[in-house]
Symmetry: C2
Subunit: 242 residues, 2 copies
């Protein structure tokens, strides 16, 4: 702890040490992992001087698995009389894209991110990379501090502080269904329009736009068209408080 405290005070990564401490409540041991975790893929084009030390996609893969597991255990223990279908659905609600983006933002992770500043004007992009970096940071914490520490961190700092189970229990999984129902009631014509398909790491990413009476309202992006629709619908429902 003293060592980390000194590093935080005198290292050339002083600011990052302090920032991480403020967000997470502990000092990292291997700061390099956290540097990778906050670096989005788009950042590499900028770093001709400082050679690319890797982006956060591999750590996101790891962090996603760690988070999924800890949440699975928590739900298993918290709901001893619920079946597997219920547990699966609850987990989707907790580790779902929008939820992670939101928690990541609340924790201030978006302030740490390194990415191509040209993309700054795109709020959808910023939201998405916040959630991704959040998962990457969980991967970094796991490699840095081990399982017991990370499990405690996820339970105490993420689940207990940001997840309201009673709210999740009544929350419908399909925001699309909710939106469609709302649109019917409001007599608006809702459409889900495919606006763009990009290829990132050989995988397609779909961008879906929700239109109301032909007017473009809100976007959602994902590898799956269905989930992109769901992402856009969730944003809409949350913003409109439907």
């Amino acid at each position: 702890m003293i060592k980390n405290f000194l590093l935080a005070k005198f290292s050339r990564n002083k600011k990052l040490y302090q920032h991480l401490y403020n967000i997470f409540g502990f000092y990292p041991d291997r700061i390099s992992l956290y540097k990778i975790a906050i670096t989005h893929n788009s950042y590499k084009h900028l770093t001709a001087k400082e050679p690319q030390k890797g982006n956060n996609e591999r750590l996101e893969f790891l962090g996603d698995a760690v988070l999924g597991m800890v949440v699975a255990e928590k739900l298993y223990l918290k709901f001893p009389y619920q079946n597997e279908g219920f547990l699966t659905e609850m987990r989707s609600k907790i580790v779902g894209r929008n939820k992670l983006n939101m928690i990541g933002k609340k924790m201030g992770i978006h302030q740490l991110l390194k990415y191509d500043p040209k993309l700054k004007s795109n709020p959808v992009f910023l939201d998405a990379i916040t959630g991704n970096a959040f998962e990457s940071l969980i991967g970094a914490i796991y490699l840095d501090k081990g399982f017991v520490f990370t499990r405690k961190f996820i339970i105490e700092k993420i689940i207990e502080q940001h997840i309201d189970f009673s709210e999740l229990l009544i929350q419908e999984l399909s925001y699309k269904a909710k939106l469609v129902k709302w649109a019917q009631k409001e007599k608006k014509k809702v459409d889900f329009v495919l606006k763009n398909v990009e290829v990132e790491n050989k995988r397609k990413i779909y961008e879906i736009c929700i239109t109301l009476d032909g007017e473009e309202i809100i976007f959602g992006r994902n590898h799956s068209k269905k989930i992109a629709e769901e992402v856009a619908s969730e944003k809409f429902c949350l913003q409109m408080d439907i």
Copy 2:
């Protein structure tokens, strides 16, 4: 250890203790978890005398998450220069349904299972519940012995003994594509026919049959039609050594 050894010798679960020891190489502490892990949902109809103590579906949910996480970490460390897409694909190959069914069978897990004997004549069913129980047992081990033990178990007894990475690297993910290609070459007409839809715990299960020139060859079952096709195709490719 002595305690477990004695239990294994004198408890009324003597046989199960010994069987688990033979398969896994350790004695369980909380045998009740393992009893649940080997009990398929279909078994409950038989246990009017012995009240239902729960089936293995909840443990399967937990075990799937634990296995997925340990495999994710293993791949992350083993392939430091591969991107997230590669890691995701490799993991699918390792924790995919058919692979787990096969490893579970090799380890002898199918001999432990409790299920409705009426279903015994269905080899597809037996394969599937072996893989599921395998995941449930991982969940049981995690709750019984903790993370460090389970991680070591998965790495040493599952990955290192049953996973050939060089083989996985050249293995195509889509067996369906492989099968279709083969059928074209052999000038056979291949079809994927939906034979049956069951409902289990409010979720549909599709049974797909592969036909060659109209003749029924092999079946695959899953909650997703696509995966059921893939399951059937994988079996076909493995049996035909395509």
